[in-house]
């Protein structure tokens, strides 16, 4: 293992984060606060409880997930896309690092950042609504697992993208809609029966459901299923990255 190499990449990425710390924190905290003001207070006060949980508290896990997915993807995709774009990737390609080490550096840093942000949003939520966490251990586990999986997914998007537009396309056109439709703001039991079935094809449903279960002990789908799906996604991403580095996919001519 090239530990110095992993550390160099990790530091490089974290330094990039800290250079733009204010922006990285301000935007998500502000949007989350807006969600709480609009959905939690203004609209939420007219909504009934869902599964005995007040609406303001109900949306917290979904909101954290929404931010976690976006942050993980954008951090990791940007991290690997930038050197491709600027040409500095030559150094990474000529360095004695394996794909695992490259991942540990880039995905490790992206995960760190999005977990920090997830916790920050949980803190912000506290300002607006009181909530309790029924299974803190599982909460952290879901948080970490999701951050790692989607940082990996972001890394793949960064490898695949050959323009800044493409870098934005997947988060905007795929992830955000799937999150909104994945039960961030409602329980899928509230949907008509047909849509309840359709929605089960949305992988984000499992993430949000599992995460919400760790807070309130209520879930739309079985928790084991949630865990299994997240792991499955993680393994699929790992397999893709392994293949990409073997074949040089879009990075090595």
């Amino acid at each position: 293992m090239n530990f110095y190499g992993i550390r160099a990449i990790y530091h490089f990425e974290m330094a990039r984060t800290f250079r733009t710390l204010a922006e990285s924190i301000a935007a998500p905290v502000l949007t989350t606060s807006l969600y709480f003001i609009v959905f939690g207070r203004a609209i939420g006060s007219r909504m009934g409880e869902i599964d005995n949980v007040g609406y303001g508290a109900f949306i917290i896990p979904g909101l954290v997930m929404l931010n976690l997915l976006n942050e993980s993807i954008s951090n990791a995709s940007f991290g690997i896309y930038m050197p491709k774009w600027s040409g500095t990737i030559y150094e990474l390609l000529s360095a004695p690092v394996s794909w695992i080490e490259v991942l540990l550096g880039y995905v490790g840093a992206a995960t760190t950042k999005s977990v920090m942000l997830g916790l920050l949003i949980l803190g912000t939520a506290r300002v607006f609504v009181p909530y309790q966490i029924a299974h803190p251990g599982w909460m952290v586990a879901f948080l970490l697992l999701t951050a790692v999986s989607f940082s990996l997914f972001g890394f793949i998007i960064g490898l695949w993208a050959d323009s800044f537009q493409k870098l934005q396309v997947v988060p905007m056109l795929v992830v955000t809609p799937l999150t909104f439709l994945g039960g961030a703001f409602y329980s899928i039991n509230m949907l008509p029966p047909l849509w309840q079935k359709v929605t089960l094809f949305n992988p984000v449903v499992y993430l949000i459901s599992g995460f919400r279960w760790s807070f309130y002990g209520i879930a739309d789908v079985d928790v084991a299923m949630s865990l299994g799906m997240t792991f499955g996604f993680l393994v699929a991403c790992l397999a893709f990255v392994w293949w990409a580095f073997r074949t040089g996919y879009k990075i090595r001519n």
Binding site: Y4, A8, F12, A15, R19, S86, P96, V97, N253
Partner: protein, 326 residues
């Protein structure tokens, strides 16, 4: 100043080539064949200059050895390690200064050389990095953001990054492009020092005088093929031509027919007669020529001899190759 610290390099015996390229072909994804059947050995501790016109395949070959480009076929062994099977050891031995100025805009000079050293698996060594930055006149700029550096400074920063992990082999892909005369001198002095400390250096340049000055051996590549690989002095001896130019007392309109057998060239104004001969041969034929001229009553007032430069040799090699290829 010493750039290389004391760490001894533990690689294969000294006589073995430090890089050996065997039957390397490269066809890019678009179907363009950039390299054809390249066989090349680089000797330990030499300065090797790779020359060739634009698009010849120099950067591609360097990219393959350094792990940036996948070869379509063939094998490369660097510092005793196969670059694919044992890529860690091979790459750790190599430092690369790319042709293009690829840098991170927002990093500081110091942060980026530290990053490079770590990336190549070396424990931090601030003293060593300081020595490199000083040698490249970048120490005063250590806290500057890279985007605030001039082009020549960026080039030197890339050299510092390449040296940051104490490589045994250094690739310099057109290091003198965009570097002013004084800095070029400093850079070549550094390169010589590195060579004295045992680093093997492979460089490309379009300034042929530089290769003539610096290199121990020279390879010429054209359209993806290695046209020649030779000791610089041997190459200049073998392919170099000497010329003897005679300034005539009386201009000639034509040469006497008896002199047609000689490789002589009369200038357009009939004032100068140029005799070309192989610098290698024992018998230059000068004495006979002068006797023959004398017999025909051709008198001269001045004579000069000159040797062809590496540049002339290079141009003739590349043109020859053009003639051979359709």
């Amino acid at each position: 100043m010493t750039i290389r610290p004391t760490s001894a390099h533990t690689t294969t015996e000294l006589s073995a080539p430090i890089i050996s390229v065997r039957g390397v072909h490269k066809t890019y994804a678009g179907g363009f064949q950039a390299l054809r059947n390249i066989d090349l050995e680089i000797r330990r501790g030499e300065i090797f200059a790779l020359l060739g016109p634009n698009g010849a395949g120099k950067t591609t070959l360097i990219g393959i050895i350094c792990g940036i480009v996948n070869p379509s076929s063939g094998t490369v062994v660097a510092a005793g390690h196969d670059i694919r099977k044992d890529y860690r050891a091979a790459r750790a031995a190599i430092g690369l200064v790319p042709q293009e100025l690829h840098t991170d805009a927002f990093e500081s000079v110091w942060a980026t050389v530290r990053f490079s050293r770590g990336l190549f698996g070396k424990a931090p060594n601030p003293d060593y990095l300081e020595r490199i930055l000083r040698a490249l006149s970048l120490w005063d700029k250590r806290d500057a953001k890279i985007m605030s550096l001039s082009g020549g400074m960026k080039r030197r920063l890339l050299i510092a990054k390449a040296l940051s992990h104490e490589p045994e082999i250094l690739f310099l892909d057109e290091p003198s492009a965009g570097v002013d005369v004084e800095l070029r001198h400093d850079m070549w002095r550094l390169v010589r020092e590195l060579r004295e400390q045992g680093t093997t250096i492979i460089l490309t340049t379009h300034y042929i005088e530089e290769a003539e000055d610096m290199a121990d051996r020279i390879g010429v590549i054209n359209k993806g093929e290695l046209v020649v690989v030779e000791d610089k002095t041997a190459l200049m001896r073998k392919l170099g031509k000497k010329e003897l130019a005679l300034t005539l007392r009386q201009p000639l309109t034509a040469l006497p027919a008896e002199l047609n057998a000689w490789p002589l060239n009369l200038s357009a104004d009939g004032q100068t007669l140029v005799y070309t001969f192989d610098s290698q041969t024992e018998e230059t034929g000068i004495a006979e020529l002068l006797r023959a001229l004398n017999q025909h009553g051709i008198d001269f007032k001045d004579l000069r001899s000159s040797e062809s430069s590496l540049e002339d040799i290079f141009v003739s090699l590349v043109q020859q190759a053009k003639g051979v290829k359709p």
